[in-house]
Symmetry: C2
Subunit: 208 residues, 2 copies
DNA sequence: TATTTTAGCGTACAAGTGTACGCTGAGATT
DNA sequence: AATCTCAGCGTACACTTGTACGCTAAAATA
């Protein structure tokens, strides 16, 4: 049971995933990929694809998981930087922008399938984003004078803005990205300010 | 020059556009459409398609324009409601949600092509959204104590949140939509509050 | 060692795609 | 009335796609 067999299988399985990611780009989305092209790039026969995934759909869901994993790992790293004395907003934003830069295809997948044609895909992406929101909400509830409900809404708004800024950044050059990032940081400050205002007291009263 | 000829041409051209919109759905995106299927639904031969558009791409851009037009018309209507004494945030949000409900396929197109595979598409959608942002920014600058720069950032953040909430709403039932709308309204208040705080005075000082 | 399992291959096929080409007949133009 | 224009059609072709089926050789198991 040395597992030479299973080991090789994992290897080509991974080759398929890598091949699929490589074929994603600004001009090529997941739904444009064909089983045959992916198999070709992975160096196996089209029909061998089925030894690993029953479907292109199944491949896609695996890719979403993988992208989510990458993102979560990066953000864990961000939390370490924050713990050792970085500004929360700045560090998080910069880390996210780093993700977009170094793993743009993974981000593109999440971004596109969020509003894609497969309900399963949309749900999978929504789950990944939800992770983020909950984590941030938990942090905000603990570290700022905000009740749970407002902490959640605040987190949701922030994650939405960050994610969207990431999407815009994909098409931009360095100069534009810097301006975008600066605007984003201001916008996050707005939200923090507003949430702390409304979330701290008189939660149920209408604002003026 | 009665134009019977040209009139008929416009008619089938419109039939193509309608056919294409009809084939959009939660499970079917623009890039899934085939020229042949669109032509079939419009009731013409595949090759006749070329009498109207050089490309599926050209059809798509026309559709984006049309969707943008619908949206702008709806928002003009919203402005009238506001002028006759409605709350700004509430009225705008409700109007937008109405757009998503009654013209979901048009919204889906904008939503998806915003991060789609064609740069021209992305630019076209970005332009439509930019209209919105500028219009709102102008309003905010005039009606609230906010300098131009902060008014723009505020408007951008608000439009982003509204647009994204619309995207989420597409998959939701009435109950969930109500909750979503309520959260959205709070989030917009956060932004308004924060922007007025930072944008009114001491613009260049760091927040506490 | 003999047997079973299985990753990967090659062949084959039906279905669908975009589009080149030439024709027709009904409006438009002269 | 004679001519031109051109929206729409049908045929045809070269491709690409997913996948069913059966084979092989090497690893795993007995």
């Amino acid at each position: 049971m040395s597992g030479v067999r299973a080991q090789q299988k994992q290897k080509t399985r991974q080759a398929l995933i890598v091949a699929a990611f490589n074929q994603l780009s600004a001009e090529h989305s997941f739904s444009n990929l064909s089983l045959r092209e992916v198999a070709r790039e992975a160096g196996i026969a089209p029909t061998s694809f089925y030894r690993h995934f029953k479907d292109m759909n199944e491949l896609g869901l695996t890719m979403v998981d993988e992208a989510g994993l990458t993102l979560r790992q990066l953000m864990r790293q961000a939390r370490r930087r924050i713990a050792s004395g970085g500004s929360v907003i700045n560090t998080s934003v910069l880390t996210f922008m780093e993700f977009i830069d170094t793993s743009s295809n993974q981000f593109r997948l999440l971004l596109r399938e969020r509003s894609g044609t497969s309900k399963a895909f949309r749900a999978a992406v929504a789950r990944e984003i939800q992770h983020f929101i909950l984590e941030l909400a938990h942090y905000l509830e603990a570290e700022t004078p905000c009740d749970a409900n407002h902490a959640y809404m605040q987190a949701e708004a922030m994650v939405t803005l960050v994610f969207n800024a990431g999407a815009d950044a994909l098409d931009q050059d360095v100069q534009q990205r810097e301006e975008l990032t600066e605007r984003l940081i201001w916008q996050l400050r707005y939200i923090a300010k507003g949430a702390n205002h409304y979330g701290t007291h008189q939660v149920n009263s209408k604002p003026s």
